[in-house]
């Protein structure tokens, strides 16, 4: 183990190095680019033995990763925003083909208007593409989830690609002290990639076939079941990880001071840290508030959320996303989890940080205030102009 001062991107690249992918397909896009830059340097200085492929687009980045996975190689790629959308066809192809690729996505706003700063509309627009989606909070979790994601994706009960999301700039470009595990520890945690779902010279396979109306639904059901089964593997990964590295993130969700909380804010990604601070400050004033950090949006932690908020009087969901014409998509998912579990409490949506708009401490105080006192269900937070102007 060693310690280094790393950005979220650099920490993630360190995690990828420890996972030793056979093939890395690389294409630049802000704010992800530093990941593939660092990986290319690691290949150059031989601290990483990977085939580093300079593809000519994001569509090809994921198509190349699928090819590598189809022959049984561990594959990694990274993208952001427009690039994620450009590879959208391949996202569904990779999950339907059950190729356990790991991809880092730097969460960034999507055009138009053009904007390179962070929000979560890129990955949330792809919630239904069949990938496991993880959201991380800081640089250490970035590194750790790079490793854990291969463990989860490649588990034979899962065999589903994993997208690890880092908030653009706020996390990808900010520096923290990070513990870098030793290769021995990483190898102890992450077994070599083994799969039956690959080309084989002794037993040739026809892969990525068509399946008509008579069998298509069964394939889709299998895919859905594998995604549900991944919940147990996600918990297992967290447990194994903490045994070896001494760090646990709580699996599907993490909770903070929710046990006796009456008002709970549910959120995910890098903003979680600031919410935790606000919870501490409100607790110091004697207010019974808490935080649920969603670590995964797919599989969706429905029962876990319900368990965490079952004694609360009201909840709010903070997300950097809007599904135009309705509400934030995570809020929709949270409400569905509450209803299915018989929890009938007020639930509010806070849409903030679009296009990189800062979310202040003050904004979060206001959110807790509204959760307690009530108000509009769906709220755009931190607007510079009146919404009617």
């Amino acid at each position: 183990m060693s310690k280094a001062f790393l950005s979220g991107n650099e920490a993630f690249a360190e995690g990828v190095r420890l996972a030793k992918p056979h093939v890395i397909s690389a294409y630049p896009i802000t704010p992800q680019t530093i990941v593939v830059e660092r990986l290319s340097e690691m290949v150059e200085d031989k601290s990483l033995k990977s085939e580093f492929i300079h593809v000519e687009s994001e569509h090809s980045a994921l198509s190349c990763a699928m090819g590598a996975s189809a022959i049984g190689a561990r594959a990694f790629t990274a993208t952001s925003s427009q690039g994620l959308l450009y590879m959208a066809e391949c996202l569904q192809y990779a999950s339907g083909g059950r190729f356990p690729i790991v991809m880092m996505n730097a969460n960034r706003s999507t055009a138009l208007p053009w904007n390179i700063y962070g929000d979560q509309r890129d990955s949330i627009s792809q919630l239904d593409c069949g990938w496991i989606q993880v959201y991380v909070e800081d640089a250490q979790e970035s590194l750790d989830m790079a490793l854990q994601s291969f463990f989860i994706a490649e588990n034979e009960k899962v065999s589903i690609p994993v997208m690890v999301n880092l908030d653009g700039f706020v996390l990808t470009h900010t520096y923290e002290a990070v513990e870098i595990p030793s290769q021995e520890q990483a190898d102890e945690f992450l077994p070599p990639f083994k799969t039956e779902n690959r080309m084989d010279f002794d037993n040739p396979k026809n892969m990525a076939f068509s399946a008509g109306p008579d069998s298509n639904m069964e394939f889709k059901l299998q895919q859905h079941k594998a995604m549900l089964d991944s919940k147990a593997v996600i918990e297992l990964a967290d447990k194994r990880f903490s045994e070896i590295f001494g760090r646990s993130y709580g699996g599907l969700i993490d909770t903070y001071k929710t046990d006796d909380a009456e008002y709970i804010l549910i959120t995910f990604g890098s903003i979680t840290g600031l919410v935790r601070e606000v919870v501490d400050e409100l607790r110091a004033e004697g207010r019974k508030v808490g935080l649920v950090k969603l670590r995964y949006l797919r599989p969706f932690p429905d029962t876990e959320i319900a368990e965490a908020v079952k004694n609360a009087k009201a909840v709010g969901t903070l997300e950097k996303d809007i599904s135009f014409g309705y509400e934030g998509t995570v809020y929709t998912n949270v409400n569905s989890a509450l209803i299915k579990n018989g929890i009938a409490i007020p639930s509010y949506n806070f849409i903030a940080g679009l296009g990189g708009r800062d979310i202040s401490k003050e904004d979060i105080f206001h959110m807790f205030e509204q959760i307690e006192k009530g108000g509009e269900y769906v709220n755009f937070v931190g607007l510079g102009v009146n919404a009617d102007e």
Binding site: S63, G67, A70, I71, F201
Partner: protein
């Protein structure tokens, strides 16, 4: 080069078998012959298109070597990944081959193909050219020839079929300074086999562009596929050539062309062409051959 594969020595093994391609399908013949040359160690990528539609329907799977369907645009990039993965895993004696149609190559797949050639990935890319999007029902592609009627280039009072000539994929591939590129026709199957065999022994990217008529799309009899694939070469609207070590080489330099009109008039897609159209096509041909004969060496 290893011993030349001939009609006598080619394997009886079939690698693309039991598929439901239309009678007289030129594309399936190209796939069948290419895989006979490359053998069981071929790792085949086929994009969405005719060959995957006819040979890849669960549980009816028709390749007896390892094969995979790629996205329509992703033939070459998936080949790249397979080749890189196989190399990283330490496999030996394999060949990654991609076989895509004209639309999958010259239109939607050209970016990925260009990337693969640029990286000089050790793969063979074969474009079987039937001159339109046949799987979706005969729509114009970038390789549809001048004058051809397709379902998106109708021949009517105002527009007389496709108004643009074919994209020159062979020379586009060559312009990347590719180690080996070739044109072929399933009408000259020995020449095609030779070229696949040669490509298999090239280190780096090879590109083979093989004309493969589609009776349904071209409006010809199913037993005329091979004959018309010969005639397109004999009348000079296609040519057999290679690009290697930076040089173009013409493999067949006919002293005299067979009549263009006879070739065109045999096909439903060209039925509407008048004398003026045919003379335009003939003059395009002559211009091309003037350049070929001036700049390329002939065998």
């Amino acid at each position: 080069m290893s011993e030349r594969i001939t009609a006598k020595t080619i394997t009886d093994n079939e690698f693309f078998y039991g598929h439901k391609a239309c009678a007289g399908c030129g594309g399936s013949l190209a796939v069948r012959m290419a895989l006979k040359v490359l053998g069981e160690r071929a790792l085949t990528v086929i994009p969405a298109g005719c060959m995957s539609a006819v040979g890849f329907n669960f549980p009816h799977l028709c390749f007896s070597n390892n094969a995979i369907i790629s996205t329509f645009a992703g033939t070459a990039s998936m080949m790249t990944g397979i080749e890189a993965g196989a190399r990283a895993l330490g496999y030996k004696n394999y060949k990654v081959v991609g076989i895509a149609g004209d639309g999958g190559t010259a239109d939607i797949g050209i970016q990925a193909l260009s990337g693969a050639i640029d990286r000089n990935d050790d793969v063979i890319y074969i474009c079987y050219d039937n001159e339109a999007y046949m799987n979706t029902g005969i729509q114009k592609s970038g390789l549809t020839p001048y004058g051809a009627r397709t379902t998106t280039t109708p021949a009517g009072q105002n527009i007389r079929g496709n108004i643009r000539p074919k994209k020159n994929m062979f020379e586009i591939a060559a312009a990347h300074d590719i180690p080996y590129a070739a044109t072929a026709s399933i009408g000259y199957i020995n020449d095609f086999i030779d070229k696949v065999q040669k490509a298999a022994e090239i280190k780096g990217t090879s590109y083979i562009h093989v004309v493969a008529p589609c009776p349904t799309g071209w409006g010809i009899q199913t037993n005329d596929t091979v004959e018309i694939a010969k005639e397109i070469v004999d009348c000079g609207l296609w040519y057999l050539a290679e690009y290697e070590n930076g040089e173009f080489k013409l493999n067949k330099n006919p002293k005299e062309f067979s009549p263009v009109e006879a070739y065109l008039k045999k096909q439903g897609r060209f039925k509407h062409l008048n004398e003026e159209d045919i003379s335009e096509i003939t003059s395009q041909r002559d211009k091309k051959w003037q350049k070929i004969r001036r700049d390329w060496t002939a065998e």
